[in-house]
């Protein structure tokens, strides 16, 4: 069964192009053989294009004998030639031979189109008892007695039986044709569907890829934009703060109480703005991967006591107590001291902010681990399972964060809800910067939270080598 010779138009119309596309010579031949075995009648199957698909017969003594005679041989060849080319779209043709035998030519039609035919014969209709004159006079050297003897050995069948037998064979061949066609269509469709699916997927992939490229470009643009804008904003702001400080210090003359108070507020707000802009700048740099991190050993005790000193005033103002714990075995950290302080300050500041009046914030440093390979990844046995690390946790007893929000809190500009932004200030930049910084250190940050009970941020950072 060849798929490639069948053209697209025929597939889409579900047509059979050539008989041999759907019927194998072997199966046609074996059907014809069993037919011959049963009825002793010779059969040939020929496609519409004239190819012989099966030919099952036994040489007849009469034919052999006639072939030794000049006229006999010529007339025999002519008859066979005529019979081979006889074709009618729908009707069976019974073609006589000069020997008194006949050929029965039965058309095979499929879905309204001629597709081939089969030829039963030569056989002698049982109704014919005597050899005809046309046989005995075919050649002057013919021996009538021999011819008659051979004539009697020809296969013999009554015409109505021959008709029934032919109808039966036609049925069998058409059934074979039908199931062969069915199988051909199924496999053609299978292949065509797979191709069509593939084409569709490839198209979609292409579209996805180009929109992904587009997004990446936009993201790049955003980072560059952030970095540029925040840088440009900072310069005039620094001047504003500078002049405000000069005014406050009396550089332009003494101030009234009211003026001093207003200037204080201006400076305060300007400082806030500067902090915000710096965050933006950090974010821009982090996203552009252009932030340089130092790497040096950092003592956890020093880190946490600095943190405590910075955060205590805010905590006191909100009547939140701080509990700072450092585990005995806690190794030194390996990273950028300024950035690590920034990470912790951000988390601690948040914890205090989101604690209720009279609440408690716990900050802990202890020994931890970082998975070197994926925890149970392929070939995990071949990799160092983990390396030494420091686990820093910041825990508050505040209102907590709902489960569905947990995955979003590290996104830039995300605040759990607009309300908390208004109460606590901030642009939602803090946690995204924290995450980027932690990632930049090769560490990881996780958050767990229970609504109404509080939130725990766990930061795991690489430890310095033992001898550092």
């Amino acid at each position: 069964m060849t798929l490639d010779q069948t053209n697209a138009a025929d597939i889409m119309m579900g047509d059979v192009v050539r008989l041999e596309d759907v019927l194998s010579r072997d199966s046609v031949t074996s059907v014809c053989k069993s037919f011959f075995g049963l009825f002793g009648l010779p059969v040939r199957v020929i496609s519409h294009e004239g190819d012989l698909l099966a030919d099952v017969h036994r040489d007849q003594p009469l034919c052999n004998y006639l072939n030794t005679l000049g006229n006999g041989e010529r007339e025999c060849a002519r008859t066979v030639g005529v019979v081979r080319d006889l074709e009618h779209d729908v009707q069976t043709i019974v073609h006589p031979c000069f020997t008194g035998a006949v050929y029965r030519i039965v058309p095979l039609e499929y879905q309204g189109r001629p597709i081939g035919r089969f030829i039963v014969g030569p056989y002698v209709p049982a109704e014919t008892t005597q050899p005809p004159e046309s046989l005995l006079s075919i050649d002057e050297s013919i021996d009538a007695a021999t011819a008659c003897a051979h004539f009697d050995t020809m296969p013999r069948v009554r015409e109505h039986v021959a008709e029934e037998i032919s109808a039966h064979l036609k049925g069998v061949l058409e059934l074979l044709l039908f199931s062969g066609h069915r199988a051909q269509l199924a496999s053609t469709m299978q292949v065509a569907s797979v191709r069509e699916n593939y084409r569709e997927l490839a198209e979609k992939n292409e579209a996805l890829k180009s929109s992904f490229e587009e997004l990446k470009k936009l993201d790049q643009l955003k980072s560059t934009f952030l970095a540029t804008v925040s840088h440009e904003l900072r310069s005039p702001l620094t001047s504003i703060i500078g002049y405000t400080e000069m005014l406050e210090s009396g550089a332009a003359g003494a101030l009234s109480n009211g003026q001093a108070e207003f200037l204080g507020t201006i400076r305060n707000k300007a400082d806030q703005l500067l902090g915000l802009i710096s965050s933006l700048l950090d974010l821009g740099r982090l996203e552009a991967k252009s932030l340089d991190l130092k790497h040096e050993p950092i003592d956890p005790h020093a880190l946490l006591s600095d943190l405590a000193a910075t955060i205590v005033p805010t905590a006191n103002r909100r009547n939140v107590s701080l509990d700072i714990q450092i585990g005995d075995e806690t190794p030194k950290l390996w990273g950028d001291p300024v950035r690590l302080s920034q990470i912790l300050l951000n988390l601690a500041d948040n914890a205090v902010k989101f604690s209720d009046e009279g609440g408690m914030v716990t900050i802990r440093a202890e020994q931890g681990e970082i998975d070197a390979a994926g925890a149970s990844g392929l070939g995990a046995a071949l990799f160092t399972a983990s390396r030494p690390a420091v686990l820093l946790t910041v825990q508050d007893g505040g209102m907590g964060i709902a489960e569905h929000n947990l995955s979003k809190i590290f996104d830039a500009f995300y605040q759990v809800d607009a309300g908390t932004t208004r109460v606590h200030g901030g642009a939602g930049l803090g946690l995204s910067i924290v995450k980027q910084l932690v990632d930049g250190h090769g560490g990881k940050i996780e958050v767990t939270s229970t609504l109404g009970e509080g939130t725990i941020f766990s930061v795991t950072l690489p430890a310095a080598d033992e001898d550092a």
Binding site: G112, R113, M189, E200
Partner: protein, 232 residues
């Protein structure tokens, strides 16, 4: 029917033979295969060939069903109508698109049950899409709609269908495919509309000397064993 010449209706002038492809489209389980089965047992045996079904073991159409009908007209023109169904399940979209290639007319088999309204709509949009993908203009190809399963409970009422038919651009037919009601009316309607369109595009009367009315009379004669008094 513009564009790719492979997808034009097949005309063989030498053999005076014309092949017309008709596709039964619609959501899964709306009764497309049942329509073809009914046509097969209602149609006269000398016109209808064997129904070929390519289905999975639980009777769901995998690639398509195909029923060939041959109408040899008195004028010597032979018209081969090839009826196809598509697999309705959403996942077989590629196959649906392939089967739809080169179609000359579409019978959209809708399920009358109220619960299936969404599935009908979705499948119709899918039909539009796939026609366009095959460079067939959905505005120009003959489409008729059959509301099948009229024997079921909680279906759109006849009054509702009446209203729908008034607003509808496509002719509406009603059927109970499993019992053969309305199936032949649907088929005849589809053939009539398709032939009218083919006549416009290809001037068949001029080429083959057979008028649309004449042709439809011959088709009716070939497909006359329809017991169904229902439908339009």
């Amino acid at each position: 029917m513009a564009g790719d010449p492979r997808f034009e209706m097949q005309i063989d002038f030498a053999a005076k033979e014309l092949t017309v492809k008709l596709v039964y489209y619609g959501p899964a389980l709306s009764g497309k295969t049942s329509n073809l089965r009914a046509i097969h047992w209602l149609g006269t045996s000398n016109a209808c060939g064997d129904l070929m079904t390519l289905e999975t073991k639980n009777d769901r159409t995998l690639f398509f069903d195909m029923l060939p009908i041959t109408v040899s007209s008195g004028s010597g023109l032979k018209v081969r109508l090839k009826l196809f169904t598509v697999p309705g399940q959403v996942m077989h979209n590629a196959t649906r698109r392939l089967v739809l290639q080169g179609t000359d007319g579409v019978a959209f088999i809708a399920d009358s049950q109220r619960s299936e309204a969404d599935a009908n709509r979705e499948s119709f949009l899918n039909l539009k899409c796939n026609l366009e993908e095959n460079a067939i203009d959905p505005e120009r190809i003959p489409i008729i709609i059959q509301f099948n399963k009229r024997d079921m409970a909680s279906i759109r009422t006849d009054e509702e269908l009446e209203l729908i038919a008034q607003r509808s651009r496509e002719p509406i037919y009603k059927a109970v495919a499993t019992r053969g009601y309305g199936v032949m009316q649907t088929l005849r309607g589809l053939i009539r509309d398709t032939w009218t369109k083919l006549e416009e595009d290809h001037e068949l009367e001029e080429k083959f000397g057979i008028s649309p009315i004449h042709f439809m009379t011959e088709v009716e004669a070939k497909l006359k064993h329809d017991p169904g008094p229902r439908g339009r």
